[in-house]
Symmetry: none
Subunit: 213 residues, 4 copies
DNA sequence: AATGAATGAGCTTTCATTCAT
DNA sequence: GATGAATGAAAGCTCATTCAT
């Protein structure tokens, strides 16, 4: 059944997140999924194919995290919008990181996953671009500074969410959204200083305009 | 001999970086180090102890990367100083990442390494603090904006170097310092907008007054 | 259906001949026969029963290869008759050998097949006896030497066809009837020297005397 | 140690002969050799390499079976010499056949062994040629008929030994030298009629006539 | 009759670790 | 200190067989 297939995929992801790649043995996967070991090979050519599926599904979900962000343009405060968005990104990264990092242990696996991510465009690119579009829109509304490159700022913001999740995972801290929120707020705060409209800058341009007219 | 001991440590690190944790077998280590497999167990209780040593040495080196940064305070342009510093950090991270990330594959190993890093304070903390001290010093000199938290900005800058290296490693790109430099410059550019002193007319005049007095 | 049953048997034989016993898995049989794996177990108790059927059918066909040979007694030249017969035997053996030899890999299978062949008299015995009868008949016609044991000569001739086929199969040579024919001719040539009537002068005169009386 | 290496090779050959390829598992080999399963892979790259070694050693021994035959030229009776030689050949074949035939079960194995046998000239060629040389020498002494091709006759004789051993193995008969000797004698008898100098035939008939008159 | 998902025993192979030399 | 033969547990994977549909 397709039911068991998905069952196995989920069990594998759970193992990757909780016990790590080394414990993600076919034996453990079968036990976790409550099926016989042989069934894995009925649904997947080999273990690599199973892992690919896990990565693909998880990355596919992550890819579209920010699709609703454009609806927020102009609403609430910019930093509130960003905080909320980065918190979701943090959460998503917290789940993805054990998978992504485990892959470094096995170069062959790493290469095949690189290939899949390139072919299916599963990287962070889409999310970052969505974020950049949002920033550009706010820029047009004058809600953030005009002299900032939206894509560059979006990269930085996305990195923040990733880095916080990585730090927590690496140091074995549970996903703690309220603490993460604090860190996110702090980082956004620093970046937003760059993004905030420069009153002084405006004044400068105003002065220039006046001098031209 | 201590010579062979260090030999084995270096061989292990080389394997971790080039072939990944999965290929870091005792057989491969012995071959790479040019010693017998059994010798490993004369110098190390077990494989975990060897990896601990590898991580410890590498992190120890990384920890002190920025120790010469304070000497640059007030010299050259701030963004030049930061670019140079982040490039070194990128380079260091590019080497460390395969080691650090591989560890995610084995939770037991991860936990024991977490412990070591906490006990010996081997994390990025020191480097970030050094960077923050530098920023604070430049802040005092008025070379960067006064309304920025140096520690928060330092974290962001450090993160940039780490994330660029991670991205390159994950996507299987060779360490390319000239391209990395571009990315670093762009990110610093965006952050520096936040850090740049706000040169309003009033501030300028204030500065002039102070320098006169 | 009986159709599917025979289908499976033929698919199994094809696999045995082309890929060997090791590749004769239930999965491959099902694929080759174009049926579901489970269907095999509706028609046969287990894999052994299926193989028995394959061997039985193939050996049954082989057994009666020479049934038309007696019609040739006294016609054409003896060596021509033998060459033709051995070529057919070679061809038959070329097909049988991969099946028969594979069986050596599994002693249980070998034993059960030995039993079947004894019970149903599926060995080369009948063919050899047919050949011996032919030789005896030709001997009575004076077309081959009188001091030869027909059964012994028949065994030798049969052996030639078998061994040539075995040699070709073992060395991975395609069944090449024209080359086989050469080898057969050579071997028959040597054996026939034994079989040829000793036409010394005295014997000739003796024969003439007897025919006159 | 080399001791254990040879140990494993012999255990493998014993298993091949007594239980067949299917039972020649690494587990059984290790048990039969009285070593740990892992040790097999210390001495051999994989199972195939081990089997190659087994085949090579066994065939190498077989290759030189007849090396002392040339010393018998002109001594004793020809059929006595041949009987003795074929008996040794039978014995050798009886051991080799389970190995050779098992190989048909696994095409990959078969191909790799074909390659080895070609490269190292491990086939029956040498033995057959030695036998042919002997026959040619006896031919020159006038002890066998002059109109026979020695190589062709040698092939036939060699086949006899092989076929008898194969029949016995296939039908699960123990190696029975005394019975084999009977069969060999019978076959040689028939072939020797071809090989016997024809002059004796003439003389015999002359003698018979005289005794009749 | 026919399917193919599901099982689990058993295979080959790898690898950290030990130990006699 | 140094070697490498030896161990045995555990890995990924295959396959004959069963069974619900």
């Amino acid at each position: 059944m397709n039911e068991n297939r998905q069952n196995i995929i989920c069990a594998t992801e759970r193992l990757l997140q909780t016990k790590g790649l080394a414990q993600m043995t076919t034996r453990n996967i079968a036990r976790e999924a409550g099926v016989a070991e042989g069934l894995i090979y009925h649904h997947f050519k080999d273990k690599a194919e199973l892992i690919h599926e896990v990565v693909e599904q998880r990355m596919h979900v992550a890819k579209n995290i920010l699709e609703k962000l454009p609806l927020q343009v102009g609403l609430r405060k910019v930093n509130e919008n960003l905080e909320e968005v980065l918190q979701v990104a943090y959460d998503s990264h917290y789940q993805i990181i054990p998978i992504i990092c485990s892959v470094f242990a096995d170069h062959q696996l790493q290469i095949s996953i690189q290939k899949i991510m390139k072919e299916r465009e599963l990287g962070p690119q889409l999310a970052i671009e969505t974020l950049a579009l949002y920033l550009a829109a706010e820029q047009r509304l004058g809600r953030i500074a005009g002299d900032v490159l939206p894509l560059s700022a979006a990269k930085l913001l996305w990195m923040v969410a990733f880095q916080l999740a990585l730090d927590d995972q690496f140091m074995g801290r549970k996903s703690d959204l309220s603490r993460a929120r604090e860190d996110i707020r702090e980082a956004i705060g620093t970046i937003l200083i760059a993004l905030e409209p420069r009153l002084t800058v405006k004044q400068k341009t105003n002065l220039k305009k006046r001098s031209k007219s």
